[in-house]
């Protein structure tokens, strides 16, 4: 899928700039938002093909909540969601293994911040092609 539109929601403008540069180099159209509310509004307005969310924005779990909200909405539930985060919590809670669990953590892929450009691009590409084939990212 060329020229797919990707939404980045992150409270760190520098990080948005990095991800945006990586994605734009591959000819994706990138839109961004700095918090959950702006993110939800822009998703409604821009109707992106994929969203990349940060877990921790203004509040600890803004990214989680946003992904839940999106997956509940019939209009966006098929939009693939990548969760990018600096929260490392595999030991104990193990939420990374819960990626794809539609009730608890409804995201398609979980990636550690900072992510290697190649890994990010390959995940984006994979999710977009899955979406094109099956109508869903998962």
């Amino acid at each position: 899928m060329t020229n797919a539109k990707i939404m980045i929601v992150d409270d760190d403008p520098d990080y948005i700039k990095v991800v945006k540069t990586i994605l734009e180099k591959e000819k994706y159209i990138v839109v961004s938002a700095g918090d959950k509310t702006e993110g939800m509004n822009k998703i409604k307005a821009e109707k992106p093909d994929l969203a990349i969310l940060d877990v921790m924005m203004d509040a600890w779990q803004d990214g989680f909540e946003m992904s839940r909200q999106l997956k509940k909405d019939p209009e966006y539930k098929n939009m693939p969601v990548i969760m990018l985060t600096a929260v490392e919590n595999r030991t104990g809670i193990g939420f990374k293994s819960s990626a794809g669990d539609p009730t608890w953590l409804p995201v398609d892929v979980f990636l550690d911040k900072p992510v290697e450009p190649d890994i990010l691009l390959s995940e984006v590409k994979k999710l977009l092609s899955n979406k094109a084939e099956n109508g869903t990212g998962i």
């Binding site: 760190d12 990095v18 921790m56 600096a86 030991t91 911040k113």
Partner: protein, 449 residues
């Protein structure tokens, strides 16, 4: 050690009294038998044996009563247990008096066994209850002596032990009663004095411990928050530098590229350090460790695979021997694998080229024993005791590898101990190091530790 709640402690003491009473019952039977058969002391054997049986029946009743209360577990009523202990002590005092009546009354030196009851009462009961029990003992025993003196009840002389009957000797009676009474009250006073102070000190320790735990929790949360914020900034710095290093934004000159490269590498190292610190703090804050049954063999192999490239780079022979009898164990597979990977990484890092690194797993009695050995630089003997301390790095390790965090072994120890296992190390400088880990085989069921 977890503090035991007051009611549970009291319940345990009540059971302790029951155990003491069983000993007393055996003692009464044995002493009666020995005294009458071997020492030729005249005793009311039938009465004494009957009392021993009565005491046994009383003990069984108390045991049943306590078991009934104990069913409530932590909810057991403090007041109810205290009442049972009061009843136990009063009944003991009464039965001891009857026992003395049939074995010489005031002539029997066992009258001073009342002191034991006073000490027990002072430890278990309130000061007021203890003095009440002492008064009860003095009154009951005094009444016995008086009734025998007035010949309202018979006196059974302890012939064979005392040269003549003393129950009518006023001076002897008053003297003994005086010493008896003062001994009882003094015993209560002294035992309570010590007991109250001990309890007070213990309470102070528990309180201090609680405060410490609370402060430690606050500190950990603070570290977690700070390291997380640092990590977020580092991640962005690393990503921005990565854009230049990976030439995503176009080429730059060789000189600037060299400095950007250095900055990039140092950022990665700093981020790894923060990651590790964050992980340790999170584990400490997270009391729950999700466990499941998993194949230890697989975990060992995963760890070996994870480090095999590093071993190949240094031409290190990496041997892995997991005994076929090793079965599944219960634990958090991810963290156990991390422990193995970490120790293997260390072994490879500190072993010179063409050395050997071994990981073995065999069955112990109730645990699995994992051994990770290398032919590396070893740990200096005087530093071996510190290797599991946070941020500690052996002096020779710092020379070989400048950038270690000093947290890997602390994490390994924490994880192993959270699984109920043990980790220790043996090492000879310049020869090699051997780490041992034991992990309990545990129940084969999924549980949350």
């Amino acid at each position: 050690m977890e503090p035991v709640s007051e009611n549970i402690r009291l319940l345990k003491r009540a059971y302790w009294l029951i155990r003491l009473r069983w000993i007393a019952i055996v003692f009464v039977g044995a002493a009666t038998y020995v005294s009458s058969n071997f020492l030729e002391i005249e005793l009311q054997n039938a009465a004494l044996y009957s009392i021993a049986i009565l005491l046994a029946m009383f003990n069984i009743s108390v045991l049943l009563l306590l078991n009934h209360f104990a069913k409530r577990g932590n909810e057991v009523s403090h007041v109810a247990v205290k009442k049972i202990i009061n009843i136990q002590i009063s009944t003991d005092l009464l039965i001891l008096t009857v026992l003395l009546h049939f074995s010489g009354g005031i002539e029997n030196p066992f009258v001073f066994y009342f002191i034991f009851h006073m000490i027990i009462a002072s430890i278990l009961l309130s000061l007021w209850d203890s003095y009440l029990q002492a008064t009860f003992a003095v009154l009951v025993f005094g009444l016995l002596v008086l009734l025998e003196y007035l010949q309202l009840i018979p006196h059974y002389c302890l012939r064979g032990f005392t040269p003549n009957c003393l129950y009518r000797n006023k001076l002897y009676i008053l003297g003994t009663l005086f010493v008896f009474t003062t001994a009882l009250y003094l015993a209560v006073y002294m035992a309570s004095y010590i007991s109250v102070r001990l309890k007070r000190t213990e309470r102070a320790y528990i309180h201090a411990n609680m405060l410490l735990q609370e402060k430690d929790h606050i500190k950990n949360e603070y570290v977690l928050r700070v390291t997380h914020d640092i990590k977020a900034h580092l991640a962005t710095i690393q990503s921005c530098l990565g854009m230049v290093v990976n030439k995503v934004v176009g080429p730059i000159g060789d000189k600037p590229a060299e400095f950007i490269d250095r900055a990039h590498i140092r950022t990665i190292k700093l981020k790894n350090f923060v990651d590790t610190l964050l992980k340790l703090t999170q584990m400490r804050l997270n009391d729950k460790l999700e466990t499941d049954v998993f194949q230890l063999r697989e975990t060992v192999h995963n760890a070996v695979t994870a480090v095999s490239t590093k071993a190949e780079e240094k031409s290190i022979t990496l041997n892995c021997d997991v005994k076929p009898s090793i079965d599944k164990i219960c634990g958090n597979q991810f963290s156990i694998e991390e422990v193995f990977t970490n120790l293997l990484h260390n072994a490879i890092r500190y072993t010179p080229e063409k050395g050997t690194v071994i990981i073995n797993a065999k069955n112990g009695k109730s645990c699995v024993v994992i051994e990770i050995a290398d032919t590396g630089i070893g740990i200096p003997a005087d530093e071996i005791g510190d290797v599991f301390d946070e941020f500690f790095r052996a002096s020779n390790a710092r020379k070989v590898h400048r950038d270690g965090t000093g947290l890997g072994l602390s994490i390994a120890k924490y994880i192993v101990e959270r699984h109920g296992g043990k980790i220790w190390v043996d090492s000879i400088k310049d020869t090699g190091t051997k780490f041992w880990i034991t992990l309990p085989k545990g129940s084969q069921q999924k549980q949350t530790a």
